[in-house]
Amino acid sequence: MDMTGEQKISAPRQTVWLALNDAEVLKACIPGCTALEKTSDTEMKAAATLSVGPVKASFTGNVTLSEIDAPTSYVISGQGSGGVAGFAKGSAKVVLADDGPEATLLTYTVKADVGGKIAQLGGRLIDQTAKKLAGEFFKSFSDAVGPHAPDADAETVEKKKGFFKRLLGKA
């Protein structure tokens, strides 16, 4: 399925761009992400546990950055195997635009596919779940990046961990 959205972020474009390329930030924002480890500048190994009501599946796979046009756009794609649950893959084309000097407009176009048992059983809810997860990611990202100065990296990470904990607490 395809979906699009946009998120206004209260931070300059360069800051947002750096965050988009920061594995720690991505890890904190990808819903359910439990591990994200860079294996090269553009590749990461990832693990995530997704929980939607009674449905809970753990995925392992990789995240790749491509079509990089710094500091304006890239494609972030990931695919993971959820064992007996099946697999999931998705990619998002992310485009940044200045929205005044201190704010950035992030627009995204997401393509997501699932396979195996989750495809076979998720028919009624897959679309809205994917939409929700994509929305959550960009919302978390905006929250994480937004309120902070470009040079406050360490603090940003702390804050994001806080957010991540909140996410876990709710699950």
Partner: protein, 795 residues
């Protein structure tokens, strides 16, 4: 050719043929005391469950079962390579389907998974639950490969090949042509044209596929309890591919919880189960669960058909031209092949109608989806949908009433025997009488006036018709001629036991349709005994004569005739003994109600049980050379016609909610001519069940796939089957044109309902929507499709 006798004319004791006698196996079933495969529990039995591919197409790099084997109770992880060492693969092609090709298929694949749901490894454990625990821990390393999902582009040069060695993704192609189609279209008064889609759907037998294989390493014998339609065929398959003598394999099926064609195929996971039993030397049970059934039971009817019909100014059909495309999955299914459905379509289109020029092409392509194969009324609903859809379009184009148009074009009842433009030989059909009978049942003018009155209130009701033919009683021309070890003949052994009761063992099988009931009726009448004294044995290769089992509506016509002949022979054998005992010529004696009687007066000369007492226990008192063979076996096969065609017509009366796109079925009528009716109630219920199965495909059932080849249905909440609340009452009428190929005269009745219902529904929906200039031609006719046709929702 035989002269049929209408048995109902002989209203004497023991005339059961033609009467609605209750089936003997119902009392146990209504008490829950049947015996389905899952009810069989054997000592040391283990369970197998399968790891299934989540990918439509993927290379299998490695299968690691180490973690699974750590679970106590998980006994073994089995892969394709291990099974290939003891089990030979199969290639499902038939030589009479010229040019057909498919790839070798193994019980478990060796290198690649080729559809979402394909079994790629087996986990054997002490219980099904533990086996599933094991599945969750088996790690399969896949490399996803591009999938061939869309049948329309399966043959495009840019599309990847599923089996490189085949050279392309084409399984089979055939054009069936007669007359001069091009000229007929050139000369046509009107031409109508449309593209139809029939939705991929599946059988959803309530009892899932079930098998329990027990191999005795000491004796070398294999006993397989199997929910199957064709025990003897499966015996041959297991023997051949597991390299065993046929006599060492016994297949038993007692009760089968629905089959409808789904259980007449060779499934790799079932062969794997048997191979694992041989490997482990202990009983192994596999009961498919619902989730895996959706991706591993065969699918059917995934067709796109472009159709054209030419008519002349008098309203006569002059030509039909169709182009059929079907996607069958990555392998043709063994041993019937998956090309037969398309082949049937091009043999059956136009079936009821009298016209001269015909061209029909079918293209059968491979794709990475669940394999398709024969399912109830193979090809018929597709052919009928196209034919009857075009017929209604032609009638509309000519401004003719659909009934008047059909009446003008249906083959005349006195025009047989004849051969159709598609090359089908018809012995005797009754289209005109059937249409007349239907008109008696429905009160057509009243329905039309009701329709008009409702339209004025904004309520859209429609009536749709579908005339059809159905292929039954197949000869070896169906499969045997192509090299398949599928028996078209069937046998029955009838014996009289010492207490005077009768046992009939038949090669045709009971799937709920009432085989045991009709065989009992036929044998009781043929021998001349009260029906309750006859027991019928089915579903055991060790105790029944070799036969083809249940498929293509052959139980009554083939199995029934064998039973009749065996019963008659047994009666004659008993009378020969009686004539010696009573010093009367055999011709003056008869058996009635279990007694030897004087044929002329009906006077009882001796109970049959007295005769058997003498035969079995005091044979010394009979003349030494007197034959006393109270057990007779007869086999039957059709001779003159490759198939016994039946015919009929259906009508559907329904209402379309034009705001929601929902279809409400109000009433359904069927007139069917299945030849001699052995049990009217059973025929009616076969027709009704068949109609509802046809309605399922027309309105609800759909094996939906993503464009990447992911199956999107896995539960019965998403795959919709017809349930009671939405189904209409179905009225059934009959015409009887017995086949003269047999004494009994019976043809088949099991698939007629399914053959005609979708077309009748489609025509009724389009009749309802006609004032709104909307039309649906793609099944299932879902609310969304109807709303799209109405322009209320964008396409």
């Amino acid at each position: 050719m035989n002269e049929n006798i209408d048995p109902r004319a002989l209203d004497r004791p023991n005339s059961y043929i033609g009467k609605s006698v209750p089936r003997p196996n119902l009392p146990k079933l209504v008490e829950g005391r049947g015996q389905f495969v899952d009810d069989v529990v054997l000592p040391r039995m283990v369970h197998v469950a399968f790891v299934r591919s989540p990918h439509a197409h993927a290379k299998i790099n490695a299968i690691n079962g180490a973690e699974a084997l750590k679970i106590p109770g998980v006994l073994r992880i089995v892969t394709g390579r291990e099974l290939a060492a003891i089990c030979d693969p199969w290639v499902a092609v038939l030589v009479h389907l010229a040019g057909m090709k498919s790839a070798p298929q193994y019980p478990l694949p060796l290198e690649r998974a080729t559809w979402h749901g394909e079994a790629v490894a087996a986990v054997v454990a002490e219980s099904r639950a533990l086996a599933e625990d094991g599945i969750a821990k088996v790690d399969v390393d896949y490399d996803p490969l591009p999938a061939v999902a869309d049948m329309e582009t399966a043959l495009a040069p840019t599309t990847p090949l599923i089996h490189a060695e085949l050279g392309d993704n084409l399984c089979f192609q055939r054009t069936n042509e007669s007359g001069d189609v091009t000229a007929a279209f050139k000369a046509a008064h009107k031409i109508v044209e449309a593209t139809f889609h029939t939705g991929r759907h599946t059988g959803v037998t309530l009892e899932p596929r079930s098998i329990l294989a027990d191999y005795n390493k000491g004796s070398g014998k294999l006993v397989v309890h199997h929910s199957t339609q064709a025990p003897h065929m499966m015996q041959g398959v297991f023997a051949k591919h597991l390299r065993m003598p046929e006599g060492d394999v016994r297949v038993i099926c007692v009760d089968v919880g629905g089959s409808y064609g789904i259980k007449v195929h060779v499934y790799p996971d079932e062969v794997a189960t048997v191979a694992i039993a041989k490997l482990m030397g202990r009983p192994v049970k596999f009961i498919a669960d619902r989730l895996e059934s959706f991706g591993s039971d065969i699918h059917a009817r995934d067709h796109r058909i472009n159709g054209k019909m030419a008519v002349d100014a008098e309203g006569r059909i002059t030509a039909i031209d169709i182009d059929d495309l079907t996607g069958i999955g990555p392998y043709s299914v063994y041993p019937r092949t998956s090309a037969v459905e398309g082949n049937q379509v091009i043999n059956l289109v136009g079936g009821p109608y009298d016209f001269a020029n015909y061209r029909a092409k079918t293209t059968v392509v491979l794709q990475n989806k669940t394999p398709t194969c024969q399912y109830r009324a193979v090809g018929h609903p597709i052919a009928t949908t196209v034919t009857e859809g075009l017929v209604d379009l032609a009638a509309e184009a000519l401004g003719m009433d659909p009934i008047a148009f059909r009446l003008k074009n249906l083959m005349r009842d006195d025009s047989y025997p004849r051969t159709s433009p598609a090359g089908m030989k018809f012995e005797g059909l009754s289209h005109i009488k059937s249409l007349g009978r239907l008109m008696d049942m429905i009160d057509y003018p009243l329905l039309r006036s009701e329709q008009d009155a409702m339209r004025a209130q904004g309520i859209y009701r429609g009536i749709g018709f579908a005339a059809f033919i159905e292929l039954t009683n197949p000869s070896p021309f169906m499969y045997g001629i192509g090299g398949a070890r599928i028996s078209a003949q069937d046998g029955c052994t009838v014996r009289i036991d010492p207490d005077g009761s009768v046992v009939a063992a038949t090669g045709v099988t009971e799937q709920g349709q009432g085989t045991e009931g009709i065989i009992r009726q036929i044998v009781a009448e043929a021998v001349g005994v009260p029906i309750h004294t006859v027991r019928v044995v089915t579903g055991d290769t060790q105790t029944t004569p070799y036969g083809g089992g249940t498929w293509a509506c052959r139980g009554a016509g083939i199995g029934g005739e064998a039973a009749l002949q065996a019963g008659i022979a047994t009666r004659a054998a008993a009378l020969r003994v009686a004539s010696a005992m009573l010093q009367a010529s055999a011709g003056t004696l008869d058996i009635v109600n279990g007694n030897i009687v004087d044929r002329a007066t009906g006077a009882v000369r001796m109970p049959l049980a007295e005769l058997t007492r003498i035969v079995y226990f005091r044979g010394d008192t009979l003349p030494p050379d007197l034959p006393r063979e109270l057990m007779q076996t007869r086999h039957f096969i059709t001779k003159e016609f490759p198939f016994a065609f039946t015919n009929g017509i259906q009508a559907s009366w329904l209402e379309v909610d034009v705001e929601t796109g929902l279809v409400k079925l109000l009433k359904h009528w069927v007139v069917e001519d299945c030849g001699r009716i052995i049990n009217p109630q059973l025929v009616d219920e076969q027709v009704r069940g068949g109609v509802v199965q046809g309605i399922g495909g027309a309105l609800y059932e759909h094996c939906a796939y993503s464009p990447e080849g992911q199956l999107l249905v896995g539960s019965m909440a998403d795959y919709l089957v017809p349930m009671a609340a939405e189904m209409p009452d179905i009225e059934v009428g009959h015409i009887e044109t017995p086949t003269r190929e047999s004494l009994l005269g019976a043809k088949g009745a099991g698939e007629a309902g399914t053959a005609g219902a979708p077309a009748a529904i489609m025509n009724a929906i389009n009749d309802a929507l006609r004032p709104l200039k909307a039309q649906v031609l793609a099944q299932p006719f879902s609310p969304e499709r109807i709303l799209q046709a109405l322009g209320k929702v964008p396409t």
